[in-house]
Symmetry: C2
Subunit: 446 residues, 2 copies
Amino acid sequence: MPTSPRPLSGFPEWLPAQRIVEQQVVDTLRRTFELHGFSSVETRSVEPLETMQRKGEIDKEVYVVRRLHAEGNEDLDPAKTLALHFDMTVPFSRYVLENAGKLEFPFRRYQIQKAWRGERPQEGRYREFLQADIDVIDRDTLPAHVDIELPLVIADAVSTLPLPPLKMSVNNRKLAEGFYRGVGVQDTLGVLQRIDKLDKIGPALVRKLLVEEMSLSDKQADLCLSLAEIRTTDLSFVDRVRALGVSGELLETGLQELAAVVAAGIEYAPGFLIADLKIARGLDYYTGTVYETVMEGHEELGSVCSGGRYDSLATDGKTTYPGNGLSIGVSRILARLLGRELLTATRSVPTCVLVALPSEDDRPAGRRIAAALRGRGIAVEISPTAAKFGKQIRYAERRGIPYVWFPGRDGGADQVKDIRSGDQVDATAADWAPPAEDLRPRIVRP
Amino acid sequence: MPTSPRPLSGFPEWLPAQRIVEQQVVDTLRRTFELHGFSSVETRSVEPLETMQRKGEIDKEVYVVRRLHAEGNEDLDPAKTLALHFDMTVPFSRYVLENAGKLEFPFRRYQIQKAWRGERPQEGRYREFLQADIDVIDRDTLPAHVDIELPLVIADAVSTLPLPPLKMSVNNRKLAEGFYRGVGVQDTLGVLQRIDKLDKIGPALVRKLLVEEMSLSDKQADLCLSLAEIRTTDLSFVDRVRALGVSGELLETGLQELAAVVAAGIEYAPGFLIADLKIARGLDYYTGTVYETVMEGHEELGSVCSGGRYDSLATDGKTTYPGNGLSIGVSRILARLLGRELLTATRSVPTCVLVALPSEDDRPAGRRIAAALRGRGIAVEISPTAAKFGKQIRYAERRGIPYVWFPGRDGGADQVKDIRSGDQVDATAADWAPPAEDLRPRIVRP
């Protein structure tokens, strides 16, 4: 390589201290998901292109993968063309169908993996990004309490992370579809997709689209917009919908399902859930509860945790596997918080102790000290050179390593120095331990 | 999806219990690497094709990535064509050059990621596979003790894993190259690459290649083969090389470097390291110590942990960053051991306790019990239905969940049942805990 390479736009990478933050965030998510009984699944990175195209909508943004010296028509057959997955829901549905005979249902899984989209990169949108998903999938029917449980798992996970507060908006497709039918609309999905543009283009333009593109009457359009305006932190949205004077069985089911989710949020995660009746979610596989989440103070990033119920995404023709899932945009959250230095780590290495070397001949003794400390869970490096102690201490300082260990010479005791305070005490590798807060790097908000 | 999808050859995926084994293996590697002061790095999955092609040799096996609707010449320019990385050494070298001003040297990093190669799939060779790498990279020069340290870190990591014993073979490129020069060979890399085929085609055919393709005399070929036959677990290889009557400065340096590595192996990881003078490693960027590792009883899998010193892979023209690294083939090891059911997990879910529900009305009470147990680190699921208790117990049994919790009714105490033994005792969620060995699933050898 003749000159320094440059970053690729849309493919973020972290420096070591930033990566420590990412690891601890992912560790916390994983720990919470496992405490709630979710099993880890990793799917391969590629799916047949036709599997993904059948899910529609984003085929423009897919990355196709082929061998550099592919032979013959190997990658012209759409059943054989492979593409990098753009989310984890489609691969997970495929995994469930492929392994249905070997899985126990209901199946609770989490999946923390990279995904890829060939979109124009911008803040919050990357070509390679990390997602953390939880889904519950069942055979034939999926109980309604899953719609309540999933946002509570997310609330539990983020409550122990040093993030700005997250607020999750909830809606229900049945409520919206039932309402639209109640006002006499046929193409309910078409209306939903235009309502979904409210945040981007505002109510006046959405109203214009509803009237001109969807042929709604002024009254119908006004009613649909009135529904979308309803947003409450309590259960009062139910009365506000009823006050619009529209009724129907599907609408009633949606209202009850949404009320159950919001009521549980009030009880178990106060301030986290909001009934927000304009939330639509673009993807057409959602069939009931849908979720979107903003990070307070960073609303313009868009949703950082989205999902919903999909009752008919996975089916082999005989059996259907309804599911519900939520996906946290780990890269979207961390790129913002790391990029603006709102989060960092107390040091750039896992190392807690640097063993200093009086001379290169002391390296074997240093190895024994290091092994004794590591055996008790303390991360240790041995100085790479037996330079002057001042230089070895600077090696630790530059990395944020808090302690330097000086092996005793001529029968003298070992000593350990806290290089932040300068305190230096006698110590033995068999029993010295750092304070708990120094053992591992910690996430801090500078 | 009208019918069940089928697996893609070369893209292994695990069932939940297998994935638990993989997670625990990866966790152990990570913990050991961090105890030795290695920082985590993740690089993006793609590199410019020209970066990878410059490293030569495997361009046939690379997966190229392009947007499905790429515009114009976007992916005809080799500087803009992207490909999935085939290892972590090339991306890491690029990362070091790109971030040289922000990293502290020597830089110790580990990297546990997927890599991709378009090879014909067979056991031990996959198109998508997980690797766990450690490297130390420095500016200008890298001390020799790194060549000793890296295999000891691997020995430490695998010593706590339930794997068949690993045996690492070590050689030194300077030793081989110095010896070949000493016998009068010019194209030392050419000889090395043919010696590398010894295990595949045997000494008679390698001798033929050396004589016919490399124009070595019979005497030269015999000497090169005699060197390759030397394999010792102690330092006697030094005298055996000297007995061949060849000498030279580079040979002497190589002998001393290899002796230092093997001596440290004898002291710190007895039985792990073997001096094996036929080890060559195909890649031409290695410049000194090289390593290969077999898993006992599974030698035909090939090397499960390989690497070596590369003194000039990473350079920006002004500064060179010499490194040494080892890469564990996690997929190669686990596909064998999981595929033959030589390893499994004690259960298929993280869940330790299932809270049973006398009726659906008890779900809120179940949530409070679950929250109390989770708060103390115990993984809990709440029964998905308030079916008959027998059915709820079978839900736990099928997943290997060891405990079922029965909420007390009408003021009675809660009870917890070990469904393996049938023992059932009074318990309170605020202080009950399972025995340590039941808290999380464990890896077992059936």
